[in-house]
């Protein structure tokens, strides 16, 4: 049983080919190093704003590299003895992370302008964690995935603590608290995940996902079930599924808003990418067992997220619970355990990325006007800045699943995929999700109500802190409005990307 891990033999050609497949990741890492070096040599009295544009440019080149790899016929190739794979699935997620990171970097100026914060380090940490996220999506082997996860978690902990001197009266240093909380809980959950992976190796004798799937068929052994449970618990923390969600509100509230935006989109999408990859790639043989677990998690997660969101008065905590709710919806797609469900989850992540980033960009801009992020600070925003109010309204309506915005289409495809499985449990779950969506309209509606139907307390006009912030907001709004109506190409991309899972 306990054969040593068969190490692949790597020739120089293999290595070079692997580096080509890693192209987008390498571009991001090189950009990060360049930004770091420039930051070292420029003197204190110079603006560091060009670093933002360099970072954004690097990410854009990364996206272009993804496109080149796709056009160049590299899709489906693997490298380093199958440890790393560049299929449609990986490319889809790499492009998604690059785009999300770009929007976050462009919109961070409200915080980057604050003297006490280190601007360049923020960009570097976003870039490094993006590289980690991209590796998570293309890792095709347990140890590779684990290493990528660690790279990401460490950089994300730094990001959470970035706003380190931001003290709230009576509550201490929220950002530092957020960073430490995220670091400790992330370390613990990774330990659980690692134990699950070790057990999986124990029962299968392999670490590459393909080999595991060949061994694990038929009735699962107790050890396999235990390992599945641990994998779900460990990854459940990364995506903030209940009951592993307790860190979310504190970290979301404490971290600087751009960092929160990146948490809510990037690390969540990567968690789902890993789950989709491991469970569909390595464990399809025992899908009846894990699909039930995901179904239960979906129910608990969307119910808990929704009900607690109702009573929130802080918009960042509200968004935290809202993000938990959306994880609950997406878990339905995992419980469906088929290619339809997987592609629906991928499209949902894309829709969620644009919508949530749009909302967080407005919250970032508002940080100068409502520093405590209370919803009461948004009263009458429609009079102080109609454009920002409209942006946040579109994002919230999309989150609530109101047509014709992209969130509606994402929910639609997700629920349709689940209904088509023909299982009563899943259909009940979808009905419950519909009810939960109607409930969510209440708390999203409260913010919309505050912005439009109440008169502003202050008359000061609200405007973005920089051109780049406005640009990022416009880009995400275009996504919210247009991706739903012109969904076909993106949906087809998700469908063809998830076709690697076979069923």
């Amino acid at each position: 049983m306990n054969t040593p891990i068969p190490l692949p033999t790597v020739t120089a050609e293999d290595l070079f080919f692997g580096l080509i497949l890693l192209g987008p990741v390498l571009v991001v890492i090189v950009t990060a190093v360049v930004v770091l070096l420039i930051d070292l040599i420029i003197t204190d009295w110079l603006s560091r704003r060009p670093l933002m544009w360099i970072s954004a440019l690097g990410l854009l080149v990364g996206i272009a590299t993804c496109g080149l790899l796709w056009l160049g016929g590299y899709v489906g190739k693997s490298a380093f003895g199958g440890f790393l794979v560049l299929d449609g699935f990986a490319l889809f997620f790499e492009a998604l992370f690059l785009l999300a990171a770009m929007l976050v970097i462009l919109s961070a100026t409200t915080f980057a302008d604050r003297e006490e914060l280190f601007e360049a380090e923020f960009y570097v940490m976003v870039l490094f964690s993006t590289a980690g996220l991209m590796l998570m999506a293309s890792g095709n082997e347990l140890i590779t995935i684990y290493l990528a996860l660690e790279v990401t978690s460490l950089s994300l902990s730094f990001l959470a603590a970035w706003n380190k001197r931001d003290a709230i009266a009576g509550q201490g240093l929220k950002s530092t608290e957020a960073g430490i909380k995220f670091f400790l809980l992330s370390a613990m959950s990774t330990a659980i995940l690692l134990y699950g992976m070790a057990l999986l190796y124990g029962v299968s004798g392999a670490t590459t996902l393909v080999d595991i799937s060949r061994v694990l068929t038929g009735a699962p052994s107790p050890a396999a079930l235990l390992s599945v449970t641990m994998l779900i618990a460990g990854l459940g923390f990364k995506i903030a599924a209940a009951p592993f969600q307790l860190w979310t509100p504190d970290v979301y509230q404490g971290a600087a808003t751009p960092a929160t935006a990146f948490f809510s989109v990037g690390s969540k999408a990567a968690g789902f990418a890993v789950i989709l990859r491991i469970f569909n790639g390595a464990l399809p043989g025992i899908s009846p067992e894990w699909s039930v677990l995901f179904g239960v998690l979906a129910f608990v997660t969307m119910t808990a997220g929704n009900l607690i969101a109702i009573v929130q008065t802080n918009i960042k905590r509200l968004m935290a619970y809202s993000s938990i709710t959306h994880v609950g919806y997406m878990l339905i797609g995992l419980a469906a355990a088929n290619a339809d469900g997987s592609s629906a989850v991928m499209f949902y992540l894309l829709a969620y990325a644009f919508t949530n980033l749009g909302a967080f960009i407005v919250i970032t801009i508002m940080a100068n006007y409502a520093p405590d992020d209370e919803i009461s600070g948004y009263v009458g925003l429609a009079q102080r800045s109609p454009v920002l109010a409209l942006g946040l309204t579109l994002a919230l309506l999309s989150l609530a699943g109101i047509p014709p915005f992209v969130g509606f289409f994402a929910k639609l495809y997700l629920f349709l995929a689940a209904i088509r499985v023909n299982s009563v449990g899943l259909q009940l779950l979808v009905i419950w999700a519909l009810i939960m969506s109607a409930v969510s309209l209440y708390y999203y509606g409260r913010v919309i109500h505050a912005m439009w139907m109440r008169d502003a307390v202050e008359s000061e006009r609200v405007h973005p802190a920089s051109f780049s912030q406005g640009l990022a907001l416009a880009a995400s709004m275009a996504g919210v409005v247009a991706f739903g109506i012109f969904a076909a190409p993106f949906l087809n991309a998700a469908v063809s990307a998830s076709s690697i899972f076979g069923r």
Partner: protein
């Protein structure tokens, strides 16, 4: 006279999207200075409003109306049973296309929408708060409602249906009366809950419908859902009731009607006009276009429920209206009563009944819009809607009094006005099917005559109270906006064929699908 198909296609797309373009223009360019001509003479201290947004919005609404009238005239009436001016573009990967077209069923409602929007927008010149937002919401509303009436694809239909919610929600919630937020939330929660049922119904129909998967209404209408069984517990019966709930909230049908009096009473005048005049018709249109057309067997199986609800609606609405002393509440409840006639016509499941239902929708759209406009004009002057507080106003405002009486008389079905033709057709269509229910509904006309004549009589005639001695009559802007509706009410009353012949053609294919269903 008949429009070339390719020209008509472009005109139809313009009628649909021009208001949305206008909304963007108003939002961007609608801010202006207050103008002296709008200062309220009763409240000289008030600042007056900017008319810039009003001018832009009225311009776009007027162009849209002219185009819609051109379509109405150029519509090929001899082929009213077919979709005309169709545009079809492939859209979503699961069998849903962008399909826009009109037939004899939707053409009158499309024109009604354009007319009422023009009247509502033109009549809103007094709005002094956040005008660009106000007018752009009305124009978005117009596009959404036109989309509902012209969509040839179930999914597109649903999108337009939902798109209409947000503007109306904001209109009630921002420019409404004292309890506006409560009314706005009640409106949106009722409708969203109803449309959730509707969406499930739409997917049931599509998934059990023809292969390959399609959401096209024409394709689904050719499919025989009775092959899955008959009766109210069959697939067709369940899909019918799911769709029905979505539309019943909108019509509104008892017991889903309680949002309506709140929404109407709190909404600003133009909001009430659009609500009563057009939005309620979306429900009746959905009943005809989806429920009965797609699921004729199920409509037959559920006929008993439709009849009961029709009778309850018309009698209940009439008696509640009779008990009101607030003019706006009275008209809101009379809408419930009149929408009972629509349901009665649909429940008859005969061609004459369907035609009557459609005509009642058009006629009620005109005179209820007019009634709400007139209440608004009276309220602008007296700042009360209580019947007991007003008396003899006709002496001070003869124009308002006359037009109010025209609307009231149309509402109680006076021959020569739009209401008579419509109600008469409905009752003819339903009497042969269920005499008792028809007689019960006809009897509510007497109640309607009671509350209309009694309340209007006491407001406009009788001794003029001193406190109303200085009030003025309608000014030209107001006369134009309500004159349009009054003229249309008269026109349809005298020359019903303006819409009657195409409505007969429009409902003919629906009635044809019901022929031969066993009782």
């Amino acid at each position: 006279m008949i429009l070339e198909p390719n020209v008509g296609q472009i005109v139809l797309q313009l009628v649909l999207w021009l208001p949305a373009i206008g909304a963007a223009v108003v939002a961007l360019a609608g801010n202006g200075r207050a103008e002296a001509s709008t200062v309220d003479h009763d409240h000289p201290a008030a600042e007056g409003a900017s008319l810039r947004a009003w001018r832009i919005a009225t311009f776009f609404a007027a162009i849209t109306f002219i185009l819609a009238a051109w379509l109405l005239i150029g519509f090929d009436r001899s082929n009213a049973n077919q979709y005309q001016f169709e545009t079809r573009i492939g859209w979503l990967p699961f069998g849903s296309d962008y399909r826009i077209a009109v037939d004899g069923l939707s053409m009158p409602l499309l024109a009604l929408n354009a007319l009422l929007t023009l009247s509502a927008v033109a009549g809103s010149w007094r709005i002094a708060m956040r005008q660009p937002l106000y007018f752009s919401l009305f124009l978005i509303l117009e596009s959404a409602v036109s989309g509902v009436f012209t969509a040839g694809d179930l999914f597109l239909f649903f999108l337009f249906w939902e798109l209409e919610l947000i503007p109306m929600f904001l209109v009630i919630g921002i420019w409404g009366g004292a309890r506006r937020e409560y009314a706005a939330f009640k409106f949106i929660l009722y409708t969203v809950a109803g449309s959730a049922f509707m969406l499930v119904g739409i997917f049931l129909v599509a998934y059990y419908g023809p292969r390959p998967l399609t959401f096209g209404i024409a394709e689904l209408a050719r499919f025989n859902f009775a092959q899955y069984g008959t009766g109210i517990a069959s697939l067709g019966g369940i899909a019918f009731i799911l769709l029905f709930i979505g539309f019943a909230v909108k019509v509104p049908v008892f017991p889903f009607h309680t949002w309506l009096p709140d929404a109407h009473v709190e909404a600003p005048t133009a909001g009430s006009v659009m609500l009563a005049g057009v939005l309620l018709k979306m429900g009746g249109y959905g009943l005809l276009r989806l429920c009965v057309t797609l699921l004729p067997q199920a409509a037959h199986d559920w006929q008993w429920l439709l009849i009961i609800l029709a009778v309850v609606n018309s009698i209940y609405g009439a008696f509640v209206a009779l008990a009101q002393t607030d003019l706006k509440k009275m008209i809101a409840n009379s809408s419930i009563s009149h929408m009972g006639y629509v349901l009665l016509g649909v429940a008859a499941l005969t061609q004459i009944g369907f035609q009557g239902a459609l005509l009642v929708m058009v006629a009620h759209g005109l005179y209820s819009g007019l009634l709400f406009s007139m209440v608004g004009l009276v309220y602008d002057r007296t700042h009360t809607r209580e019947v007991g507080a007003m008396s003899g106003l006709a002496a001070r405002m003869p124009f308002i009094a006359s037009v109010f009486m025209i609307a009231g008389l149309a509402s109680l079905g006076l021959p020569g006005l739009a209401g008579f033709v419509a109600e008469f057709t409905t009752f003819i269509g339903s009497y042969g099917v269920f005499p008792l229910a028809t007689i019960l509904c006809v009897s509510t006309i007497a109640i309607t005559a009671g509350y209309i004549l009694w309340r209007l009589g006491s407001v406009f005639f009788g001794p003029l109270l001193d406190e109303w001695g200085t009030l003025g009559d309608a000014i030209w802007r107001e006369r134009v906006s309500v004159g349009l509706l009054a003229a249309a009410t008269l026109l349809i009353g005298v020359v019903p064929s303006v819409v009657a012949d195409m409505s007969a053609g429009g409902v003919a294919p629906i009635a044809a699908r019901l022929v031969g269903l066993g009782s």
